[in-house]
């Protein structure tokens, strides 16, 4: 995943480097800052609960960085390993649906035939108040 993301942004080797180092520069320190971790946690709701997890992330980034040794000048980025496959086109017919009962069984709370959600997004608590993320 990381490898693919690297290739995606790559227009030129230099351009990519400049873009990446604005967030964290593993070349220089190999460390991912607490600020970046918090930002990632908010965006993806992934819990980097421990220093171990952060260290693992840094190792993964360093591993992917080895791709930079490859000269990709003039090479079209790979967007999908499916790029040689044909995108199947489905006919415009109604063949599914009508299973509200089954779907609603999955819901924690239901009102008539609606799923129930909180009134808005619940913000992740700030770093100092952080606890393991849990649904209410």
């Amino acid at each position: 995943m990381r490898a693919r993301a690297v290739k995606l942004g790559l227009r030129s080797w230099v351009g990519w480097r400049r873009g990446f180092t604005s967030k964290a520069d593993p070349q220089r320190s190999g460390r991912v800052t607490a600020e970046v971790i918090e930002h990632l946690e908010r965006l993806a709701l992934v819990d980097f609960g421990s220093q171990e997890a952060v260290a693992r992330l840094e190792k993964a980034i360093a591993f992917a960085d080895r791709l930079r040794a490859v000269d990709t000048d003039g090479v079209e980025p790979l967007e999908s390993v499916l790029e040689d496959r044909c995108l199947y086109l489905r006919s415009d017919n109604v063949v599914e649906g009508n299973c509200a009962e089954v779907l609603l069984q999955n819901a924690h709370r239901v009102v008539e035939e609606y799923f129930v959600a909180p009134p808005g997004n619940i913000s992740l608590p700030k770093q100092d108040e952080q606890e393991p993320f849990s649904h209410n």
Binding site: L43, L103, G120
Partner: protein, 512 residues
């Protein structure tokens, strides 16, 4: 008559502070010395003898407003963009939802051919370049009505780019003073719609209905070539007519099939563009222009008073008639775009590049679609003008009402009367009658044949124009008119016809 009020007003492409009749934008001031300005090769705007400007006021500034639009049109298809559940407006909650729409693990997107065709047709109609290869991406954000946590869209390489949309605006008080403008189309992309949230404030909860989740949308991005609410509204209206003519979307704003977001900023002429705000929830044709103009005026007001404009998202409050910052939109969103890993690139062909022996169901030929494009509103109007010697503004009016053009053409078929007469009757008397009774053309008690016959009588001079109008009066439910009509018929038949027979014939004709 209210006292004159100082308001920011749009004159041509400029926003100036001027005295206008209180409450109305277009007062009855004398012509003023504003010269028309050419901007970016667009047709020049005639002098606007609409408002009296207070030129001597110290510190009076001129502002230019820049308006761009993102329009989402629901594709008219039987099933959704990536799944086989039905697309339908009113249905029991969560009854039109497949496992994929509910984002259950293990489900995969399968692209609907009809949606691709709709996108190609729309791109061609809007003079776009159709990308033979386009890609799908994931746009991530959290919201309860987006079960997957991402929307499948086309951010990197959309299906159509670099088009244009021509529309007309009134440039003077007279309806004949119209000017054609063009707005560039940045791109058209295919994307998924989200489900619907019903906010239940008292119980502090939101009810989610996923019937709409996964419905195919065409996002049409208009470049910021527009300068006020009226231009934006006209462009949207023309796009609506095009989509309806193509059949790619019913584009009914009331049913949520057409939704508009506006990006608005202001700046002094010659200076760089200002900070823009995004105004969402513009879902009513009536309020579109109002909301945009309000936001322009708000921004000018803020800047004139030394404050700054925040790059934020606002929504339009219809009841209060103003834009408000939206909650839940804190800071700039990071959508973490990534390629949709489950969909290979979408490849389209033209006649020259058709792979031999390919399954026709699996191949889309742009040339084939182009050859079968229906007639666009601009072509229809041009034909009306050429065929019937109609004025341009009449051709616009005929296309502006659902079913009116067909009605007009049916009357023309059955009547001997001159087209100009028919046009005048349909647009003034017939349409006026419908508006008064609050009816659509399809609900009209007057059929095209009836009107054609009436016009024939008029043409033969069997009845006078006022008598014909009175027939309409009778339809309006005015019984005294029947007697007047009887008198006229008796005169016309030189009193030889039997009055009871006349009455019977009239009643029969009028009730048909």
């Amino acid at each position: 008559m209210a006292a004159p009020v100082k308001r920011w007003s749009c004159v041509g492409k400029r926003w100036v502070l001027a005295y206008i009749d209180g409450g109305s934008r277009h007062g009855r001031g004398a012509a003023i010395g504003f010269t028309s300005r050419r901007k970016r090769g667009q047709s020049s705007v005639a002098q606007q003898p609409l408002i009296t400007a207070q030129k001597s006021r110290k510190g009076e500034h001129e502002w230019e407003a820049v308006v761009g639009l993102e329009i989402h049109a629901q594709i008219s298809s039987n099933s959704k963009l990536f799944s086989g559940s039905q697309v339908h407006f009113a249905a029991p909650p969560n009854s039109l939802v497949s496992f994929f729409d509910a984002s259950l693990p293990g489900t995969l997107p399968v692209l609907n051919r009809r949606c691709v065709e709709a996108a190609v047709m729309t791109g061609l109609a809007l003079n776009c370049r159709i990308n033979k290869k386009s890609l799908f991406d994931r746009k991530h954000y959290f919201y309860a009505d987006l079960p997957a946590g991402y929307q499948i869209t086309q951010q990197r390489l959309p299906i159509a780019v670099n088009g244009s949309l021509a529309y007309s605006v009134c440039v003077g008080k007279k309806p004949s003073q119209v000017s054609t403008k063009t707005v560039r189309i940045k791109q058209i992309q295919l994307e998924q719609d989200s489900g619907k949230s019903l906010h239940d404030e008292p119980r502090s909860q939101t009810l989610i209905d996923l019937n709409r989740a996964g419905v195919g949308l065409l996002e049409v991005v208009l470049e910021p070539d527009m300068s006020c609410g009226e231009e934006a509204a006209s462009a949207v209206r023309e796009l609506q007519l095009i989509l309806q003519a193509l059949g790619t979307s019913q584009a009914n704003m009331a049913e949520g099939q057409l939704r508009v977001d506006a990006n608005i900023s202001v700046h002094h002429p010659g200076e760089p563009l200002g900070v823009r705000t995004e105004v969402k929830n513009l879902n009513s044709a009536r309020f579109l222009a109002k909301a945009i103009d309000f936001e322009i005026e708000r921004q000018i007001h803020e800047l004139e008073n030394g404050r700054k404009i925040l790059n934020e998202t606002r929504s339009f409050d219809y009841k209060l008639g103003c834009t408000m910052p939206m909650r839940d939109k804190e800071g700039k969103q990071d959508y973490r775009f990534m390629p949709e890993p489950n969909l290979p690139p979408l490849l389209l062909h033209d006649t020259a590049s058709l792979p031999p022996g390919a399954d026709p169901q699996q191949v889309i030929n742009i040339d084939w679609i182009r050859e079968r494009l229906p007639e666009l509103p601009s072509e229809t109007r041009e034909k009306l003008i050429q065929q019937y010697g109609m004025l341009p503004e009449h051709s616009f009016a005929l296309l502006n009402e659902v079913g009116l053009l067909e009605f007009f053409q049916n009357v023309i078929k059955e009547t001997r009367a001159e087209p100009k007469k028919v046009t005048s009757w349909v647009l003034n008397i017939f349409l006026g009658f419908l508006k008064q009774q609050n009816l659509t053309v399809n609900e009209s008690p007057v059929t095209p044949s009836a009107l054609a016959e009436l016009l024939n009588l008029l043409d033969r001079k069997a009845i006078s124009s006022s008598a014909a109008k009175q027939v309409m009066d009778v339809k309006r439910g005015n019984p005294r008119a029947i007697n007047k009509l009887m008198g006229l018929v008796r005169k016309a038949t030189l009193s030889r016809a039997d009055p009871t027979v006349i009455k019977k014939i009239l009643e029969r004709k009028l009730s048909s």
